[in-house]
Structure formats: structure tokens, C-alpha cells
């Protein structure tokens, strides 16, 4: 009924300050619900695209998540290495467009060192079309050049041309250092929000050079050391690498090549689709997101209870109003629907403001989040989840408001036209 709607709007406007508080508390819960969901989906998107554009990652035989963890996230160790000859052979497969080798095992003050080829800078992609870019310097060219991720640079306050010593093994404090062959920082990468930020990148030949005088993983014996300059003239082609990334000419060949790598006879290998493995890894983190959603749902519930209590406390002071409405001929159910309409309007306004806060928040926080964590938030049209949240909040506020509405209905019946105030 049109007159009831206009009455409820005017009545709400008359109490606009207390109503504004209720609207605000609902908008905060909507903001939290949608904000958590937004961050969740966007982190999932950026997480599952930590590496994109790569069709297959190949390593020694292991489970897909483990291979992904050590090759991309630099967590844990490879089960085994891959021989250079196997890498070369797969690289010659007709459907392979490009390949990037990865060699891990060393570190620098707690940050992983990754040996790779300069193709890495061309082919590594993250978050849809993100390419590695340099905030300073350029890719490595010399044997003893290093490129560092932004977190390495920030944490250790490294500038270009800094001399760094790599350590053997992965410990934060290492006693086996490659002190005879220092590296020079020639490039610092822009933040990506991926493990690349925490990585020191050097060439495969560099990895080979620092280990050239090592025997079975132990430090060189006195007299057998090879100096940095001597190493330049030696054969630096690695005998083994940790893993490699493959880009294919056609996506259609992916599964076929994956199978033939998995069945590769000369060496036990595993080829994984990074997207699929990332999804698997993400699904392990699902409890965290569920917890976040539960918390925001509780906040929404608190907002709804606030709405109900605001309606309940207003009932007594509005007995006169109800009596006047009764005297001009409104029925008890008019009173009932008046309160339900009010609560629906409050909830709807709360939802609209919540979405507004979210968008304003994204606009202002997105640059900060991008530079601090490499998290990219973008404004999207309200998706189905947001519509569901709004619908559920409005519906439950209407539902929960039937309690005060019913009390008002009873009160209107008992008071008649002369409430005893």
C-alpha cells in the first residue's frame, strides 16, 4: 500500500539520527561480509594465478602440490634433480614453444636463490597478464650478476651494484658460503605479490660456477679451489636442474605432452598443470576462508539484532502514533506492515551503503594493498554472491522485524485509540 510506504519513509526520516545509526551498523556488517568475500576471491584469483601462461611444470617424480610448492613457492625441497639431457630432449619436442629451467638449492640470508635463464623474465606471468618488470636495473647478463625481488631489496636495503655472497643450502645462517664468488645486484624487480618478490635470481651458469670446485656437496679442499675468474673459462653447462617450465605452441597438446613426460623412460619425471595444482593447494586453505566468512556472518547477525532492538525500543514511544493511525481507520495489520516496511527499508539502505563503503574502500585502499602485498582489488559489478548477501540481509531483517511488528500489532489491539502512557 502506497500510503503505508510513504508513512514509513516519513516516519523514518523523522527519526533519522537513530535510524542512521542502525543503517550504519548494518552497512558495516554488509561491508565486512562483502569485503571478506572480495578479498577472498581476489586473493584466490591472484593466488591461483601466481604463475600463469606456463602450460606445464616438469620436475622429478612427485605429487603435483609438492612439485608446485618447491618450484614456484620455493617451499620445501625437490625430491630429486632432472638431468640436463632429459631437459634438452623434452625441450626439442615439436609442441614446445619455450622452456625455462629452474635450479634451486642455495640461499642468501634466508632468501632463496634461483638459477634460471634470462628467458624467465620474458615468459614468467602472474595474475593474468602480469609480466616481470624492473623498478631499477636490468636482467642479468654477466656470470656473476643477480636480480633481486622487491622484498629482498626492502628487507636487506639493497641497492643496485650491491655485492652479495650466496650461501650453500637453505638455512638462514649458513656456514658454507660461496665467499670466493660474490655476485653484483644488477636489477630489482617490481612487486608482484608472488614468491618472486622473495627470490634472488641468477643465471644457471652462475649456479654452476659457484659449485664448480665443490665435490659431492662439500666445500672445496684447499688447493682445489677455482677462482671466480678461472671459473669464467670453464665448462659451465649444468649437469642437472631442479625443474623447468614449459610453454606450448598449442594448448591442445598439453595433456598429450604431460602424459608422455610422466611416462618418460629415461628418468622418473612429473609434469603438472600449474593452474590445476594451484587450485588443489588453495582448496587446502579453505578452512581459513570459511572461518572469515563465519565471523562476518556473525557481524551481520549482530547488525540485525541491533535493528530489532532499535525497533523494539521505539515501540513504546510510538504508541501514540499507532493509536492515531488506528483512529483514522488503519487496521492492525497496517501497523504490522508499517514496522516490517521500516525494517526492510533500513536493511536495504544499510546494504546500499555497505556496497558504497566497499567501493570507496577499494578505490582508496587498492593502491596501498597493491604496493604492500601485491594484492589487486578491482571494482566489479555486484556478482551473484553480493546479490545473495543483500537479499539474505533484507529478507532476514524483514523476517526478524515480525517480532517487534507482532508486538506492535498486539499493542495496537490492546491500546485501541487511547494508549495509557
Amino acid at each position: 500500500m502506497k500510503v503505508l510506504l510513504s508513512l514509513s519513509i516519513k516516519s523514518l526520516w523523522n527519526r533519522r539520527f537513530s535510524v542512521a545509526l542502525t543503517v550504519f551498523s548494518i552497512s558495516i556488517s554488509v561491508l565486512l561480509l562483502l569485503g571478506v568475500e572480495e578479498i577472498r576471491t581476489q586473493t584466490r584469483d591472484s593466488f591461483t594465478q601466481t604463475i600463469s601462461g606456463t602450460d606445464l611444470i616438469v620436475g622429478a617424480r612427485s605429487g603435483p602440490v609438492q612439485l608446485l610448492l618447491y618450484s614456484v613457492f620455493h617451499i620445501g625441497d625437490a625430491t630429486n634433480n632432472i638431468s640436463w639431457s632429459s631437459y634438452q630432449e623434452i625441450n626439442r619436442h615439436p609442441s614446445v614453444a619455450w622452456s625455462v629451467p629452474i635450479s634451486l638449492g642455495d640461499s642468501h640470508r634466508g632468501f632463496r636463490v634461483m638459477g634460471t635463464s634470462s628467458d624467465y623474465f620474458h615468459h614468467y606471468r602472474y595474475a593474468r597478464e602480469g609480466r616481470l618488470a624492473f623498478q631499477a636495473g636490468k636482467p642479468f647478463a654477466d656470470l656473476y650478476d643477480a636480480v633481486i625481488g622487491v622484498e629482498v631489496a626492502d628487507a636487506l636495503s639493497y641497492k643496485l651494484n650491491e655485492k652479495i655472497i650466496l650461501a650453500h643450502g637453505l638455512g638462514q645462517v649458513s656456514f658454507a658460503k660461496h665467499e670466493d664468488k660474490p655476485f653484483r645486484v644488477v636489477g630489482i624487480l617490481v612487486r608482484t605479490g608472488t614468491p618472486v618478490d622473495k627470490t634472488v635470481l641468477i643465471s644457471l651458469e652462475g649456479i654452476e660456477a659457484i659449485h664448480i670446485d665443490w665435490q659431492q656437496g662439500t666445500m672445496p679442499q684447499p688447493g682445489q679451489q677455482v677462482s671466480a675468474d678461472q671459473a669464467r673459462n670453464m665448462q659451465l653447462q649444468p649437469k642437472a636442474i631442479t625443474a623447468f617450465m614449459l610453454g606450448l605452441k598449442s594448448k591442445i597438446a598439453t595433456f598429450q605432452l604431460q602424459r608422455s613426460i610422466n611416462e618418460y623412460a629415461a628418468e622418473p619425471l612429473s609434469a603438472i598443470l600449474p593452474g590445476v595444482a594451484l587450485q588443489q593447494l588453495w582448496s587446502m586453505l579453505i578452512t581459513v576462508e570459511t572461518a572469515l566468512l563465519v565471523i562476518s556472518a556473525c557481524v551481520a547477525l549482530a547488525g540485525l539484532l541491533g535493528l530489532t532492538s532499535a525497533l523494539l525500543t521505539s515501540l513504546n514511544e510510538r504508541r501514540r502514533e499507532m493509536a492515531i493511525l488506528r483512529s483514522v481507520g488503519s487496521r492492525p495489520w497496517h501497523i504490522f506492515s508499517l514496522l516490517v516496511a521500516e525494517s526492510g527499508i533500513i536493511a536495504l539502505a544499510g546494504c546500499c551503503f555497505g556496497i558504497l563503503w566497499l567501493y570507496i574502500g577499494i578505490i582508496f585502499l587498492s593502491p596501498v594493498l597493491q604496493s604492500a602485498w601485491g594484492m589487486s582489488l578491482t571494482i566489479t559489478m555486484p556478482d551473484s554472491f553480493e546479490c545473495i548477501v543483500v537479499a539474505v540481509i533484507v529478507a532476514s531483517s524483514v523476517l526478524i522485524s515480525t517480532i517487534p511488528a507482532w508486538l506492535a500489532y498486539r499493542q495496537a489491539l490492546n491500546d485501541g485509540m487511547m494508549p495509557r502512557l
Partner: protein
Amino acid sequence: MHAPVISLDRVRFRWPDTTNDVINIESFSVSKYEKLFINGPSGCGKSTLLNLIAGVFEPTVGDIRILDKSITQFSQAKRDAFRADHIGFVFQQFNLLPYLSLIDNVILPCHFSKSRKKQTLSDCRSLQEAAYELLSKLGIVKGDLDKNSVLQLSVGQQQRVAVARALVGSPQIVVADEPTSALDEDAQTDFLQLLFELCDKSGCTLLFVSHNRQLETMFDRVVSLPELNQTTAKV
């Protein structure tokens, strides 16, 4: 003598789960165009009687006829609609909805009663114009109309706006419950004269309830509610 517009026949009312009648009226009637003064000190069942006549409460036993219709036979919804169509109310105080403008307060009954809306529009071009006309008859000048809130009006002005609302669309019956008790003595007489004048013009019956017996002399007839109501219960 005109036909009765209100008549009560052996009406009793008691609250559910109580044993004493609050109202026990053998016979009571009000004739057309009559200006009836009901003398009702507090605690004699005055509110309950008015709620019964308005059809808000239903008698436990007995019959209430308004305008020759037995409203006790009506459903609650029909009684609500019937009240909206035929009865205007003025209460003691706080008659107006604070969130509506003066004009919107006056035309409020027209939103709940088609017949009063139709009646109003048969005399005037718009509801607003009718309200404005009524208000000016009641001495509410243009300056008062522009006030932001009805609460900025004096109590006397508020009561006159309430009269305009009770009379809009010319209902047959106006029930006034202590409308003058918040006014000073001079204002009471002025208010009554205005009320009478407008009731005469629109041809309605006035039921006026008050504990102030000084006003009795201005009415056609006086009824004492404590004498009329044969209940032993204290309300």
C-alpha cells in the same frame, strides 16, 4: 426527534481472563445532529466505551449499532473500514503525527477511507485544497502552515488541526475525548464554538467526553457515564 446514530443495547465488556465487567450499559443512544456531553471522570470506563463505539474493541455481549448498522456483526477489518468512513476523532493531546506536514495530517483519513476521500473531492479540487480550507475556517493562518513541524504549533493550534482531520470528508460522527483539557479557559470556549459551528455545517453528530462539567451548559444533552455504566468494577 431524529433517529439514533449510535445505540448500545445491553452491552457488556470485560477483558479476557478477568471476571469483572468494565462496561455494563443497559441502553444508550445518541440521536442525529445531537451534541452530547458525556461527563466522565477517569476510571469510569470512558476509554473502553469510546473504543467500543469506534469498533476497536468488541463487546463481550450486547449489540452496538452505528448509523443503523450493527457493527458487532462486522469483522474486525470491516469495523476498521467503517470507523474510517464514518467517525472522526479528536484526542486530548498529541493528536498529530510529528513526521507529517499540517496538510498531510489533515488529509490522513482520506488515505484510509475511500468514501471520505470521494466526499472531500466532491467539494474541492484537491485534498490539499480541502485541508487548507478547513484549516483557514479553524483560524490556522498561512504563516502557521509553513512551519516545519506540527510540534512548532501551540497546543491550541494543534487541537484545531486535529478537528480539521476529524471533519475532513464529513464523517457523520465526531468523537472528542477531552479535547479541551490542555487549553486554558478562554481558549476552551472558543474551541467549542468553532467545533460546534463546523459540526453544524457538515451536519455531524458530536460525542464530547470530558470531566470538566463547566462546559456542560453549551451542549444539547448531558449524560453521566458513572450513572450510565452499571459496572461494579473499578477500571
